[in-house]
């Protein structure tokens, strides 16, 4: 027995360790008074306010939107109640020409503005990256369009586009590109390019700044090496700059595509979707269904479709950022 007990002694001793500690362990309040809270507990405590805000003001409404999209909910017809309709709102929208029109308009707007902003932003970044006097002025000027509220820039572009007395008319007439007043925002063909131009003005600086940050980390030794090897400016651009800028371009492209797809303020203020529904983006169509037709069920279905598309792009974007655990 003794030997048996002896053979069991080591595990017992191991168990005795925690047991002994447990006996001297202080009660919760006493421990807190002496040592404060543990680092793990502090982490949770510090994280809690954000979790409450994010779940309360983002998570819960997101769930509520999905719930609304599965029900009939019309503010103008409260007698209908809020019966469960399953996916009816979605299948209904998929049969509406207005929905497909707005999806196409959103695609047009997103592609048009993001591609123009990327190309223009690249040229701006390359120019600003060259050292010359007045570079500081240029950088400061770039921040002006970004700083002005979207609503304000939309109203300013509305005024510039106004036929006859607007600046845009004045410039085009002065350069003899057109003769006489033109009304871009009432034209089926030109309303969208006009909206895109306003968006390009507003967002190109942002892309240019991102690309500039990417350009500045390319080591100048690489350019010198390429120059020694006899590469001309174009070759240096395509063989050194572009490959090394690729990561930044992809991230800028994704980020702007997501934000362009959900643009609301600028087209809503500038054209309100008109003429007709020529510039009615999916975001505007969802908003109109929600707050003009006060059809919260169908409007929420549209909002969910928009959010899912953004969410899909955002997950690609998050992967591109290669997030590491801190």
């Amino acid at each position: 027995m003794a030997t048996k007990g002896g053979s069991q002694a080591p595990p017992l001793a191991v168990e005795a360790g925690p047991a002994r500690v447990r006996t001297t362990r202080l009660g919760g309040w006493e421990r807190f008074r002496r040592y404060g809270i543990s680092r793990g507990q502090l982490a949770w405590l510090l994280f809690l306010p954000s979790v409450i805000v994010l779940i309360g003001v983002l998570g819960y409404p997101a769930g509520r939107t999905v719930w609304l999209s599965l029900h009939t909910y019309r503010l103008d017809m409260p007698f209908l109640g809020q019966p469960f309709k399953g996916l009816y709102n979605y299948t209904f929208e998929f049969q509406q020409p207005d929905f497909w029109n707005s999806l196409g308009v959103s695609a047009y707007f997103t592609a048009g503005s993001v591609v123009s902003e990327l190309l223009l932003g690249l040229v701006v970044a390359l120019v600003v990256n060259e050292s010359f006097r007045g570079r500081g002025l240029m950088r400061a000027a770039m921040l002006v369009p970004w700083a002005i509220p979207a609503v304000v820039s939309a109203r300013m572009f509305g005024w510039m586009y106004s036929p006859g007395v607007g600046a845009f008319n004045g410039l085009l007439n002065g350069l003899h590109i057109v003769n006489g007043p033109i009304d871009l925002l009432s034209s089926d063909t030109w309303a969208m390019p006009a909206v895109i131009l306003a968006d390009v003005w507003r967002n190109t600086p942002f892309i240019a700044l991102l690309l500039l940050a990417g350009l500045q980390v390319i080591p100048s030794e690489l350019y010198e090496a390429a120059r020694v090897d006899g590469a001309n400016a174009w070759q240096r651009f395509t063989r050194v700059t572009l490959p090394l800028l690729r990561g930044t371009v992809v991230i800028a492209l994704l980020f702007r595509t997501i934000t362009a797809f959900q643009t609301f303020d600028l087209p809503y203020t500038l054209t309100a979707g008109g003429p007709g529904t020529d510039t009615e983006l999916l975001s505007l169509h969802a908003y109109r269904t929600l707050f003009s037709y006060v059809n919260f069920g169908r409007g929420s279905a549209l909002a969910v479709i928009l959010a899912v598309i953004c969410f899909a792009m955002a997950s690609v974007y998050a992967r591109q950022l290669r997030v590491e655990a801190p």
Binding site: L58, L143, N169, A314, P326
Partner: protein
């Protein structure tokens, strides 16, 4: 040697020099031309807004357009404030943007410190979620938030704006600050704790003073974002005296014709403080913008 002199690589050949110089001059000229073109493109709408706000009404609606007004007239700036709540709108914007910035920074700093320096499970998953939330569309939540605020009797109050603004800027604050805190050497905060600081003291005495620049940057961007926000302010607030500046400018109109002089003056009043802020903190803003969407 004569053939070498014509080649671009022969730097030392005397006849090669003018050629390189000519290339440099062409390059310089091109750079300047592009620079001027971009300056014009980025600044022209702002210039147009400025001259419209300063022209007498009689010079606004004329063709040919007066590009350089002969005398300046400040009456539009006075008219903006008469018969409207515009002064009140400015106050609303200041209150809402300040409260949003403060709340986002406090909660954001707490969470970022927990994420960067304290033990938490699934940190990477949390950060990916934060990134996804940074790009979440406001339009997707506007209906549910409207019902929630209406049922809570919070529409037409500052809360109707401060709550959603805080929720939408918090992920950005967490992302930027976590990246910044992470780069503060662990030795510094750990040394402080070895020296007898609690983790809370290590946050307030070591981390916060060191990260003041990042906090200022995040705060500026959040303030500007809240100052410029339109969708929620437009949807959740209908009382003119509670509206923020962008909503007020959206509604600016006249009975017979659109008062572009006054709209431009209001636009100037709204954008000038922000432009001043941006120019003063240019460096920080650029850092924050790139850190917000690229890696910190």
């Amino acid at each position: 040697m004569a053939t070498l002199a014509g080649q671009r690589t022969s730097r030392f050949a005397p006849s090669g020099r003018p050629r390189i110089k000519r290339g440099k001059v062409a390059q310089k000229t091109l750079l300047w031309a592009l620079n001027l073109l971009f300056l014009f493109f980025f600044l022209f709408p702002f210039y147009w807004q400025t001259i419209t706000s300063l022209k007498p009404s009689s010079q606004i609606y004329v063709t040919p357009i007066i590009w350089f007004p002969s005398h300046l007239d400040f009456s539009h700036f006075q008219n903006v404030f008469t018969g409207r709540d515009f002064a009140r709108n400015i106050l609303n914007s200041v209150i809402v943007a300040t409260a949003t910035t403060f709340a986002s920074l406090v909660f954001g700093t707490f969470s970022a410190y927990a994420l960067a320096k304290l033990p938490l499970p699934a940190k990477r998953t949390i950060l990916v979620l934060v990134i996804v939330m940074v790009t979440f569309p406001g339009i997707a939540l506007v209906a549910a938030l409207f019902i929630f605020l209406r049922d809570a009797h919070l529409t037409d109050t500052y809360w109707a704006m401060i709550l959603p603004y805080t929720a939408f800027s918090l992920p950005f604050a967490i992302w930027v600050l976590t990246n910044f805190f992470r780069d503060i050497p662990a030795d510094l905060s750990e040394q402080a704790e070895v020296d007898g600081c609690t983790p809370v003291q290590s946050l307030t005495r070591v981390i916060l003073p060191l990260s003041a620049p990042a906090i200022v940057t995040a705060g500026l961007l959040i303030f500007i974002g809240a100052w410029n926000e339109f969708l929620f302010a437009y949807t959740f607030v209908s009382q003119p005296s509670m509206q923020t500046v962008p909503v007020a400018i959206y509604y600016f109109g006249g009975i017979h014709e659109i008062p572009w002089g006054e709209i431009s003056a209001a636009a100037e009043i709204t954008s000038l403080p922000i432009i001043a802020l941006v120019l003063i903190f240019q460096r920080r803003i650029v850092q924050g913008l790139t850190a917000g969407s690229l890696k910190g």
